[in-house]
């Protein structure tokens, strides 16, 4: 009976757990068994590893091979244990150096020809390996760049199973650079706010939204520029902090995105089509739930274009993540939590034909149809949105106006406002006005002389208790943008107008 142990990482959502892969040889008829709660894809690892080992000229033991994955209670899924399984079996059969296995996390799927293939979730797995105190991670050659984002752990790339044997022996692996296919660069020109003509007030609302991380609802007739504006929001947002960028990259890695280009500091932008299912938005999957669009928008923007066309179930599923900044998905085998601190941008037409709010245009919709269309966005969702901005169709004059401000100019102001907020919230877990909890807002940040305006709005039933908090948050952001130390009466008034959108006439 001979035994060897290799290490891999099991992922439960974003959390990685070191998994010990033991291989014991001997004690029965030649066959290979895999124990320790593997799922179907993992059980197939047995056959993949066997073929791969034979294909690179090594020998699979002709005895009883028992492979055990511990902790046995953790449900294990996926194909990335292949490399650890092959490593442990080769170690146990004395074809690879057992000492090389100690302290190394092995991650990668094996092809039948012995090639080491890319897998999902390398970044969170290597992060977990580093936190667990492993000193080396052996990963697929193509993903060395992604794994290298984690500091404090040695990364070794392998292209084939023979490379693994060499690495375990302590040799250097010379990889043909032609093996690694560089990922195509992120396509397309960066979208600039300069491209949008007119809509000065909407642009300003967008600037406020960016400066305070407020959710924003853009509504107006077709062609007014709702989508254009929303798509340009990331261009005026400040770059991600390194820690946040790692978090964002980890989610992208789990979702199977290619991270070979390194860390992107651009805030993510996720714009699911309105046919999206609940599972695709919040995350889902049968045994172990994968991150959905809202988690891919974590620390970035979730843009729901044509929001009323989304299924009501999908929209209502956003309520809890909007408040808590995370989503917990429970399946029979495991409960996983993904971060989902996104900035929501909704865009909608006012009615099916889109013309009902446009002066001088003929709306073809029956009053009931307009009402029903508006009701598709439920009150609870709209109440969670801070800023409501109506867009009007462009007048001809706007097209002749001198070029608009570029994204860079706006981004400078946004960054300055964010810096003020960061100083104010130093030592707290939140960093922007839009994320400040109501309690803290009312205790420490209330502007003294302006509550009568809000009181009146509440008394008229135009503002909910949550709405008061939202107005105060926006007021602080406006003050931050203007460089004032605290919001004055006019800031609260402006904030109230931004919050109420088209109903502003009633408020004043």
């Amino acid at each position: 009976m001979s035994l060897a142990t290799a290490w891999s990482i099991g992922l439960v959502g974003m959390r990685g757990v070191p998994v010990e892969v033991e291989a014991a040889i001997g004690g029965g008829l030649p066959r290979t068994v895999l124990v320790g709660l593997p799922d179907a894809a993992l059980y197939e690892a047995r056959d993949r590893c066997r073929a791969a080992v034979a294909c690179v000229g090594l020998k699979w033991p002709e005895q009883l091979v028992t492979i055990n994955l511990t902790p046995a209670t953790l449900p294990k899924a996926g194909s990335h244990y292949d490399l650890a399984i092959a490593g442990a079996v080769l170690g146990a059969s004395k074809q690879a150096e057992v000492s090389g296995l100690a302290g190394s996390a092995l991650l990668g799927e094996l092809g039948l020809d012995g090639r080491v293939r890319e897998v999902r979730g390398i970044l969170p797995a290597v992060l977990a390996a580093q936190q667990a105190g492993l000193r080396r991670a052996i990963v697929p050659w193509e993903q060395v760049g992604e794994a290298g984002l984690v500091a404090g752990i040695d990364i070794v790339g392998v292209g084939t199973l023979s490379d693994l044997v060499k690495v375990l022996r302590g040799d250097r692996v010379e990889l043909d650079p032609g093996d690694a296919t560089p990922a195509p660069a992120e396509s397309g020109q960066p979208k600039d706010l300069q491209d949008v003509a007119g809509q000065v007030d909407a642009k300003w609302a967008l600037e406020v939204a960016a400066a305070g991380r407020h959710h924003i609802y853009l509504h107006g007739p077709p062609g007014a520029g709702k989508t254009l504006l929303a798509e340009r929001l990331p261009s005026i947002l400040p770059e991600l902090e390194p820690a946040a960028a790692i978090e964002v990259a980890a989610i992208r890695s789990l979702a199977g995105h290619n991270l070979a280009n390194g860390l992107t500091l651009l805030p993510p932008f996720s714009n699911p089509h309105h046919s999206a299912s609940v599972a695709s938005l919040v995350g889902g999957g049968a045994r172990m739930a994968l991150p959905g669009a809202i988690s891919l928008a974590h620390r970035g923007v979730l843009f729901l274009d044509e929001a009323p066309e989304f299924s009501p179930r999908a929209l209502e599923a956003l309520r809890v993540p909007l408040e808590s900044g995370q989503v917990t998905l429970t399946r029979s085998t495991a409960q996983v939590t993904y971060p989902a601190r996104f900035q929501l941008v909704l865009a909608a037409n006012p009615c099916p034909c889109g013309m009902s709010t446009t002066v001088g245009a003929a709306c073809k919709c029956a009053p009931m149809a307009i009402r029903r269309y508006a009701e598709r966005l439920s009150g609870p969702i709209l109440d969670r949105v801070d800023i409501s901005q109506h867009l009007r169709p462009l007048r001809k004059a706007y097209l002749r106006v001198t070029p608009a401000e570029s994204s860079a100019q706006v981004a400078d102001r946004v960054r300055a406002a964010r810096d003020r907020q960061a100083r104010r919230f130093e030592g707290y877990p939140w960093s922007a006005n839009g994320e400040v909890p109501g309690g803290h807002l009312r205790r420490h940040l209330t502007p003294p002389d302006s509550t009568d305006l809000l009181d009146r709005a509440v008394a008229r039933g135009q503002l909910s208790a949550r709405g008061v908090d939202k107005v105060l948050r926006i007021a602080w952001t406006i003050a931050d943008l203007a460089g004032r130390d605290r919001p004055g009466k006019s800031d609260v008034h402006t904030a109230l107008m931004l919050r109420q959108g088209q109903d502003l006439g009633v408020v004043a």
Partner: protein, 119 residues
């Protein structure tokens, strides 16, 4: 080479090997209505052990090692046959099942793999 001949040759080699270990061959190709046991041997011990052997012989490794051919179904069959044999002979001994693989590659000397206690 004829397939049956390979089997006979393998069983012969296995029997010789077991006798070399000092075991006593009790039956060869014992037949009953349910089938056939390749070898029944007694291992000298205290108490002695009656060993039912499944012998597999192959002439190459193209289809895997000989012992891999012993499937779950074959094991079940062997157990059933063993019960019949024990009912008939009633030996005073322990019982065990072994697998013996014989590899007969031309130009090589026969290679015997013996795995004890396979059930």
């Amino acid at each position: 080479m004829d397939r049956q001949l390979v089997g006979v040759q393998g069983e012969e080699l296995a029997a010789q090997y077991l006798e070399g270990l000092g075991w006593q061959i009790v039956a060869r190709r014992w037949r009953c209505a349910a089938g056939e046991i390749d070898l029944v041997a007694v291992e000298p011990a205290d108490p002695p052990v009656t060993v039912f052997c499944e012998v597999k012989c192959r002439t190459g490794l193209g289809y895997g090692s000989p012992l891999e051919a012993i499937t779950v179904a074959k094991m079940a069959k062997l157990r059933e046959l063993a019960v019949r044999w024990l009912r008939e002979h009633r030996p005073r001994s322990d019982v065990r099942f072994d697998g013996i693989g014989v590899l007969l590659r031309s130009g090589w000397s026969p290679l015997i793999t013996h795995v004890r206690g396979i059930s």
